[in-house]
């Protein structure tokens, strides 16, 4: 569903991403790495909000080099940016419906789809509350609802669990696994636990490069006996992998 070949991104004189090669089929894929590794930059490129300088990106078989293809992909995309992104005066329902409209969903389908999306993130009872009056966690869940309102074939989530309480995280991971059955879900996170419980594959990024492609199970195995900092095996495996490549 997503094919990236020799991708490079520069911002000014800084090289943020370089030589990224990645193929992501349907499923849930985690982008893991320390702060400043380039995870968000990669997500933004996939969301077509940031131009890449070298290489190519194909999503759902369409290249971002052509404007029409990019718009075609945008219709089938779901995106949750890292920063809170909503109009404060909208209610949660209005917010989700608004994004549904901007994704060019059939207008008659939008109300039902918005309610379904809000139900999936357990926010339907606060659907008519203004966004500014929701708690941080609820705002994040409304953000998730807008990202899935159009049943996207590609779902891009940047730090999606920030602000969620433990119970909500568990529900969210279940939702991710459900979505990943038919779609390509890409999660950028620095929380190893999210990756361990929800992702099919893990891509480690450090210094703008992919340093490892693996699975949560393999990462956990690497950390099982390692004498490294970390509260869980997968955290120790993550640390070990990064140290090997540094």
């Amino acid at each position: 569903m997503i094919s990236i070949d020799s991708l490079g991104v520069r911002l000014g004189r800084s090289e943020i991403l370089r030589d990224i090669d990645l193929d992501l089929p349907a499923g849930v894929h985690g982008l893991l790495g320390p702060n400043g590794a380039g995870k968000t930059t990669l997500i933004r490129v996939l969301a077509s909000t940031l131009r890449h300088d070298t290489g190519s990106v194909e999503v759902l078989g369409r290249s971002y080099a052509k404007g029409e293809d990019m718009r075609w992909v945008r219709q089938r995309l779901g995106y949750l940016p890292q920063a809170a992104a909503f109009h404060r005066g909208f209610t949660a329902r209005e917010y989700v419906e608004y994004i549904g409209w901007l994704r060019r969903m059939p207008s008659s389908d939008i109300p039902l789809a918005a309610d379904r999306a809000l139900s999936r993130v357990d926010l339907i009872e606060r659907a008519d509350t203004k966004m500014r009056k929701l708690s941080g966690g609820m705002q994040r869940r409304a953000g998730l609802a807008q990202a899935i309102v159009n049943d996207p074939q590609v779902l891009l989530l940047d730090e999606p669990t920030a602000g969620l309480d433990p119970e909500q995280r568990v529900q969210f991971r279940a939702l991710l696994r459900e979505l990943g059955a038919d779609s390509c879900v890409v999660i950028s996170t620095h929380l190893v636990e999210d990756v361990a419980h929800a992702c099919d594959t893990v891509t480690l990024i450090d210094g703008g490069r992919i340093v490892d492609r693996s699975t949560p199970e393999r990462l956990a195995a690497l950390g099982a006996d390692a004498d490294l900092p970390g509260d869980s095996a997968i955290e120790r495996g993550y640390t070990a992998t990064l140290r090997v490549h540094r």
Partner: protein, 451 residues
């Protein structure tokens, strides 16, 4: 329901369009009622008066629109919106439309309330003349679009109030600086000629020009829709936007000057056919004149017992005191009009009538200031005995009628009831217009005794 309409309804429910509606409605209502004496009972005067308030309403609207334009950046939704399929224009059009609709609705609400008061006082009368108010709609659209575009391109909080100040200056400076360009950026401010501004192509050219500039700015600012525009693109966009704003007055001035050379399109003039100077009167001015002369006849009948009043049909004569004026006289009523040859044929504009007291009264030096009833509402107020008390306090009597016992009169006036004061004011006014000093003195019988 169409998706765009659904999005528009969603935007209309937001705080800023609601605020726009309330602010415009309240501002207009306060302005209209504070100047009620100038439009009371007259539809076309209401139209003129309300359009003049665009000088305040347009900056307010532009300020609110600029604030709306900066919302995307303030709420940090640019990144998310960029990733969607819809064009920036589709999204922005709902935001602009919401402010435009709210502003026009607020405007019309205040006008409607004023209209109700006119109907209660004077019936429907010349309500058709109020059609000119509709010219406000494209004006507000232009300023909302311009404000929104600038707010989008420069999404900092300080820009919105600056936009209001800039709009006020753009409109106000030409208004106060020159008679030639009130239609340039005022767009509906009409100065002396209430008809011309909304029929002239200059008006529509300036509206179209402002809207075009605004749409250009919007297109430039929507470059954010492209993934990370390069630095060169950003600089080009900002430079082009700044140039568009800077060139706006020059462009519109040139367009106005070019278009001003031609005649107005099919003015509904009615011209005299007698042997005097040929003059033409706008149809709506005729309605005003008919209203004035009707009231004047009643005044004449009350004060002088004579009948008759001139009509606009003449014969017109040059005014001895003002070479730009023509006048036609009959009984004690003068109709005056300013000659305007801007469009070639001699026309009368700003036409009005007034009741002039007897020449002997003037020669006796009794009338030295405020000597006549001029506007139809003044005559109506006189006939209806509703003359505003504040205009006829003792100290404000025409100097020729000033009472030697003014201090005592002031004390008695202060001690009088509202009804006594009004009876006194009307009696003084009637006596003064009849040029009867004795009757003026005797009017104090209506006041309370000295305390």
């Amino acid at each position: 329901m169409n998706g765009w309409l659904r999005a528009l309804r969603r935007e209309l429910g937001q705080g800023l369009p609601r605020l726009t509606f309330v602010v415009i409605a309240v501002t207009m209502a306060v302005l209209l009622w504070s100047k009620g004496a100038y439009w009371g009972g007259r539809w076309n005067a209401l139209a003129t008066q309300s359009r003049e308030y665009l000088i305040l309403i347009a900056p307010i609207t532009a300020t609110l629109a600029a604030w709306q334009g900066g919302r995307t950046r303030r709420d940090q939704v640019g990144e998310l919106l960029t990733s969607t399929r819809a064009s920036a224009l589709a999204r922005q059009s709902t935001e602009v439309a919401a402010i435009v609709i709210a502003a026009i609705a607020g405007w019309l609400l205040a006008i409607a309330l004023a209209g109700v008061s006119i109907i209660r006082l004077d019936g429907w009368g010349t309500a058709a003349a109020a059609y000119q108010i509709l010219g406000v709609a494209p004006t507000l659209f232009a300023y909302v679009t311009l404000g929104f575009a600038i707010g989008t391109a420069l999404p900092w909080r300080i820009v919105a109030p600056l936009m209001g100040v800039a709009t006020y200056l753009l409109i106000g400076i030409p208004l106060y600086g020159s008679d030639a360009v009130p239609v340039l950026l005022g767009n509906g401010y009409v100065g002396d000629d209430v008809y011309r501004a909304f029929s002239a192509r200059t008006f529509w050219v300036s509206i179209a020009g402002l809207s075009l500039i605004a749409l250009t700015l919007l297109a430039l600012s929507s470059l954010e829709r492209r993934p990370a525009p390069s630095r060169t693109t950003r600089i080009t966009a900002i430079a082009a936007g700044a140039a568009a704003v800077a060139l706006a007055p020059i462009t519109l001035t040139s367009a106005s000057a070019a278009l001003n050379d031609g005649p107005p399109p099919n003015p509904p003039l009615v011209c005299t056919t007698d042997n005097g100077p040929k003059v033409c009167v706008h149809a709506q001015d005729r309605l005003l004149l008919a209203q004035t002369t009707r009231q004047a006849r009643e005044v004449i009948a009350k004060l002088a017992g004579t009948q008759g009043a001139p009509t606009w049909a003449g014969p017109w004569q040059p005014d001895g005191q003002d070479r730009d004026m023509l006048t036609v006289q009959s009984a004690q009523i003068d109709i005056r009009g300013r000659i305007d040859t801007t469009y070639g044929e001699s026309q009368l504009v700003n036409t009005y009538a007034f009741f002039d007291p007897a020449p002997a009264c003037r020669e006796a030096g009794l009338w030295q200031n405020d000597p006549y009833l001029e506007l139809p509402e003044e005559m109506q107020a006189f006939n209806d005995r509703t003359w505003p008390l504040t205009d006829w306090l003792v100290g404000d009597l025409p100097s020729g009628f000033a009472d030697p016992n003014a201090d005592e009169l002031n004390q008695r006036f202060a001690a009088s009831t509202e009804a006594q004061r009004r009876d006194y004011a009307v009696a003084v006014r009637a006596a003064a217009l009849a040029c009867d000093v004795t009757a003026v003195r005797a009017a104090d019988q209506h006041l309370a005794p000295a305390p």
